[in-house]
């Protein structure tokens, strides 16, 4: 990613802020809290309440074993991406935050992220380490006003899997929202009452390929009523380098109580541009100048206290119909024949292998407290073209600090389907996670 011009001055300001807060950490304790602490019966209580820097950390060690899909169009016989059948990774994150004044109106937060890949035969120049600031921002709040400046994660919308309105810092993989940890530089100003929230955002560093220095701006209006809430969203930005327009978003959302055990949510968005490539039978590019509509509707139901079922239906009008999908794959095949050398790899930037269908259905079953320490998730995502992803996840809590993670994922589908062209056909992940 290219360096951002805002980042250096922001980093400098925040280092100053952090240093100042550390200097005065011992003094920032309100009178109310001091009195409360005096009455405390539990010595540990004081540690939790005194406003020193708050800290939260996590270390994940994982082993991934996978079966490479040698039929995948963009990686035939695994000769292009050269994926290894197993890999070990170490991920760590550390979040630090603190208030800067007694009234707790000024605060900073930073989240550091580190990644190391252990692979015996890494290609020369291939990155095996990564370290970055996922977040680094300052907040100011006073009654109904809230300001934030810095690199920050910001999620829009209530949907749990597909998030059409989540465009400010969208997850790279819609099925793994927890993978979205890196924020974007942004300025946020918000006004809230008990009933409404109005938000204005200015951000940069976002484009179709996650590169660039483009200015983006957006606004959100939210209304919280008894047992339901609504949102209106607008997001736009400057045009791309090639002169094409940015796809302006207009969106709505709803979430509410539904019967006694369920919650219901809805997200719908229109995009002023269709950024997907379409091809005719002869392989000629077709640009569709049309508005794209995306919508997700879902419900999460609790069966008993520890069991829940999630349904989510996702519609994407930019997805291919059967013929368009066939023509698209034919075009990919024609580019891959003869097989490209690595200098031609950029050709794939023109293709979007995700959200190729118009209709998707996700069913997720979650049960916790099995044998007291185990939580399992069974999930199936089916696409209109008949392909699917089936996933099993199991988390076993060894203690309050450690847990063992297991996941097994299978991609199913033929060569002319979305998930049938996934990089892998099966993945087994084993991990150990420590939180502190």
């Amino acid at each position: 990613m290219k360096p951002n011009i805002l980042f250096l001055p922001l980093t400098f300001i925040l280092i100053l802020v952090i240093a100042t807060s550390l200097l005065f950490a011992g003094e920032v304790q309100t009178e109310e809290e001091e009195a409360f602490l005096t009455e405390s019966e539990d010595p540990g209580f004081e540690e939790n309440i005194i406003r020193g820097p708050a800290m939260k950390g996590k270390i994940d060690l994982s082993l991934l074993v996978r079966t490479i899909n040698k039929e995948a169009r963009y990686n035939p016989n695994n000769e292009l991406l050269d994926l290894k059948e197993s890999r070990q990774t170490l991920e760590s994150s550390l979040t630090l935050s603190d208030y800067l004044n007694n009234s707790e109106s000024l605060r900073w937060l930073t989240k550091l992220y580190g990644y190391r890949l252990f692979e015996s035969d890494l290609e020369e120049g291939e990155d095996s380490d990564e370290f970055r600031f996922d977040e680094l921002f300052v907040d100011w709040s006073a009654r109904n006003w809230f300001l934030s400046l810095g690199k920050r994660r910001l999620n829009w919308g209530p949907a749990l899997a597909f998030n059409p309105v989540n465009v400010v810092v969208p997850p790279r993989n819609p099925l793994s929202p927890d993978q979205q940890t890196e924020g974007h530089p942004l300025f946020l100003i918000s006004y809230s009452t008990d009933l409404i929230t109005m938000e204005l955002i200015a951000t940069r560093n976002y484009d179709r390929e996650w590169y660039g220095q483009y200015s983006r701006w957006g606004t959100r209006f939210a209304l919280v009523l008894d047992e339901m809430d609504f949102g209106l969203y607008c997001f736009n930005g400057e045009q791309y380098e090639d002169g094409s327009e940015y796809a302006q978003l207009l969106g709505v959302s709803y979430s509410g109580n539904f019967l006694s055990d369920s919650t219901l949510y809805l997200e719908a968005a229109s995009f002023s541009q269709n950024e997907r490539n379409y091809y005719d039978k002869s392989g000629e590019l077709i640009i569709k100048k049309e508005t794209v509509y995306k919508a997700a509707i879902g419900s999460n139901t609790t069966i008993d206290g520890n069991t829940s079922i999630l349904f989510e239906y996702y519609y994407n009008s930019a997805g291919y119909n059967e013929e368009e999908r066939k023509n698209y794959f034919k075009k990919v095949d024609s580019i891959l024949t003869p097989y490209p050398d690595t200098t031609q790899f950029g050709v794939f930037d023109d293709f979007q292998f995700s959200e190729m269908n118009r209709n998707y259905l996700l069913i997720s079953f979650r049960k916790s407290d099995i044998w007291e320490k185990l939580e399992i998730v069974l999930q199936l995502l089916a696409a209109e073209d008949g392909s699917s992803i089936a996933e099993f996840e199991g988390d076993y809590n060894l203690s309050d600090y450690y847990k063992i993670l297991t996941s097994l994922k299978a991609h199913n589908g033929d060569q002319n389907s979305e998930f049938g062209n996934s990089q892998t056909t099966a993945e087994l992940k084993l991990g150990l996670s420590a939180s502190f």
């Binding site: 109310e32 009195a35 409360f36 009455e39 405390s40 019966e41 539990d42 209580f45 939790n48 309440i49 939260k56 950390g57 937060l109 907040d139 709040s141 009654r143 109904n144 809230f146 934030s148 910001l154 999620n155 209530p158 749990l160 929202p177 927890d178 979205q180 918000s190 809230s192 008990d194 929230t197 939210a222 919280v224 008894d226 047992e227 339901m228 809430d229 979430s255 509410g256 109580n257 019967l259 006694s260 055990d261 369920s262 919650t263 949510y265 999460n300 609790t302 008993d304 206290g305 520890n306 829940s308 916790s368 407290d369 007291e372 809590n397 309050d400 600090y401 847990k403 939180s435 502190f436």
Partner: protein, 243 residues
């Protein structure tokens, strides 16, 4: 003689006043005594399975009446930063891992314990239940009112509650929770283990009846009343901002 008459009249009027209390009035009075409006509390929740302690949680609770409650998890580390918010009939959870605020239903388990979200976040019973006084009976050497509470609507977490209240001091003692089909689901015993609330209970022991040896204990470790919080504390929009 006059003094004796006056004392007798006072005694009689007090007795009549209590005798005339309806089920709804008793529950309302107990709810008032349990009301933690404008308070900051530190709570500990222990989850037992097969009589062995399996999980311990610590959390900070800010309350502004039954309508607005915010719970912030302090321990264990994997739950640290999670927040539960109740505003009127809406409940949300903030999950730091995915940086999302998710609407939740009242019947879901509160962080894998035997308490439901409603048990923790909805303190008053008079709002959700009609109460009928069934009579009095002995409960652990105490003469207690026995009340039957029926849900005012289908959306309420429990269809029926049988509730025992100390007749003399109006202190809550025990609640049995029933399903719509009439099966006993859970039992809550309210105990006083410290002087935090004078005579009122500070410890809540919820046991599952349908599943054996499942118990969760919620205890107030610390409490400070007469607190006022910034207006934005109990807003859904603040959950993500103040992570």
């Amino acid at each position: 003689m006059k003094k004796l008459c006056l004392t007798l009249i006072l005694l009689l009027s007090t007795t009549l006043a209590f005798a005339e209390m309806s089920g709804d009035e008793i529950v309302r009075e107990v709810d008032d005594k349990m009301d933690r409006t404008g308070s900051l509390s530190k709570l500990e929740m222990k989850v037992y399975r097969n009589n062995k302690l399996r999980k311990t949680y610590e959390m900070l609770m800010k309350s502004e009446g039954d309508e607005k409650i915010l719970i912030d998890f302090l321990y264990p580390p994997r739950n640290k930063g999670e927040k539960y918010l109740k505003v009127d009939d809406s409940m949300w959870i903030y999950r730091p891992k995915i940086n999302k605020v998710i609407r939740i239903s009242g019947r879901s388990s509160f962080s894998g314990s035997d308490f439901s979200n409603t048990d923790i976040l909805s303190v008053r019973l008079d709002k959700d239940y009609y109460s009928k006084l069934l009579g009095t009976e002995q409960y652990k050497e105490v003469e207690a009112y026995k009340l039957e509470l029926t849900a005012r609507s289908e959306e309420v977490t429990y269809a029926k509650i049988i509730y025992w209240v100390d007749k003399e001091k109006l202190i809550p003692l025990k609640r049995d929770f029933y399903t719509i089909s009439g099966h006993l689901l859970k039992t809550l015993v309210l105990e006083r283990q410290s002087d935090l609330f004078d005579e009122m209970p500070d410890t809540f022991i919820m046991s599952s009846v349908l599943e054996k040896d499942k118990t969760s204990v919620m205890k107030f470790l610390n409490y400070k009343g007469n607190q006022s919080f910034p207006v934005e504390t109990f807003r859904q929009s603040s959950l993500k901002k103040n992570r």
